[in-house]
């Protein structure tokens, strides 16, 4: 018997809302949406946590410019404060090294992190989800109950087709989907994501492709000044 599975609910019990930011296709800006959403909520005074579960390509720490932090040990691991966010990631343990993990091992590492992380009381826990709907994402869905999903897509046909399938499986699993955000809009294929949302889920809005975002990576003050952050603040569902 795996005892860790019995403690995960307790570890998350004082969190009011758990928001999974997911995108079926890589490169849609899921991590940027998750990180900047967490920053924005923290700035609005919400007690906010951010959990980077994209173990294959963790990047929230790069977006937030997290360096030199490590969880405090006190009957578990307490996520350190990163720009007002309680931030947990596998990078505290891997450093800058690659983590060549198979799917089963990623799931096992996620279970470990969920079992030992002491979040305390939070209004929001934002989760940067593993990409796709393979075994790791399914394990996260199994382990973290009460997750509400925000899907991030680009207008690209490739991304919207994958998002359509992810939306279908989430709804088949009867998981709450708060809606769909269209990222990196360039004018081409405008409205594609809204069609995907259709009457299946809410279309939360579009965010234009923002060439200034790259220069703001790692600097939270600059991040919050970007057009990306300003448009995200208009389309996220917690206004």
């Amino acid at each position: 018997m795996d005892p860790r599975l019995h403690i995960i609910d307790k570890r998350l019990q004082d969190i009011k809302r758990i928001i999974a930011v997911s995108g079926g296709k890589g490169g849609t800006g899921k991590s940027s949406v998750a990180s900047v959403l967490a920053l924005a909520l923290a700035k609005e005074g919400y007690r906010t946590g951010l959990l980077d579960l994209d173990f294959g390509g963790p990047s929230a720490h790069v977006i937030l410019g997290v360096e030199g932090l490590f969880p405090e040990e006190d009957k578990g691991l307490i996520p350190p404060d990163a720009s007002g966010i309680r931030f947990m990631s596998i990078i505290y343990f891997t450093g800058d090294n690659p983590a060549p993990l198979r799917g089963k091992e990623i799931s096992n590492a996620i279970i470990e992190l969920l079992a030992v992380t002491l979040w305390g009381e939070l209004d929001f826990l934002i989760i940067d989800m593993p990409p796709g709907m393979a075994d790791t994402a399914l394990d996260v869905i199994r382990l973290i109950k009460r997750m509400e999903f925000i899907l991030v897509t680009t207008p690209s046909k490739l991304a919207t087709e994958v998002t359509k399938r992810e939306l279908a499986i989430l709804q088949e699993l009867r998981l709450p989907v708060l809606g769909l955000i269209e990222n990196m809009l360039t004018g081409q294929r405008a409205g594609t994501a809204a069609k995907v949302a259709g009457d299946r889920t809410a279309f939360l809005g579009s965010i234009d492709f923002d060439s200034t975002l790259e220069h703001a990576i790692g600097d939270v003050d600059k991040l919050l000044q970007t057009g990306f952050a300003k448009q995200l603040s208009l389309c996220h569902p917690f206004k």
Binding site: R4, L5, A115, V116
Partner: protein, 137 residues
């Protein structure tokens, strides 16, 4: 003190088992602790006793048995089998500390001693596991 979190998971599992199977008295809890996670057994045992009190779980003093499970790693590429405590491939102190928190981090810092691949399976001795819970109904 990350051992406390793992001890709490063990006690929570025992409490769940009591509730699920209407156990009146737990007589045996066999806990295996994988060598790879390098748990401090004294801290772990101390934490178990204190968490039991916090959960108002009363067990005989010898009911909880902790056994350290030898670690076995097997390379997925060349098939070589070896162990974490083989001196030739044991990682440094900081790396071992990271593995202590998440045993899968072994893939970051350990390589197959035969072919240097990071693609190996943790066959045995990963972390904390409950082998058996027995009780009277």
């Amino acid at each position: 003190m990350h051992e406390w979190a793992l001890a709490e998971s063990v006690i929570t599992a025992v409490v769940d088992e009591i509730r699920l199977n209407n156990i009146r008295k737990v007589t045996k809890v066999d806990v295996k602790v994988g060598e790879l996670q390098q748990i401090d057994i004294e801290i772990f045992r101390f934490a178990l006793e204190n968490v039991m009190k916090a959960y108002e779980l009363v067990l005989d003093s010898d009911a909880v048995r902790i056994e350290i499970e030898k670690n076995i790693l097997r390379c997925e590429v060349c098939g070589k089998t070896w162990s974490f405590d083989d001196a030739s491939c044991r990682p440094g102190e900081d790396e071992a500390e990271a593995i202590h928190f998440i045993p899968e981090i072994a893939h970051v810092y350990i390589r197959c001693p035969e072919c240097s691949s990071p693609d190996f399976e943790i066959v045995k001795g990963r972390g904390v596991w409950i082998e058996a819970i027995e009780g009277e109904h």
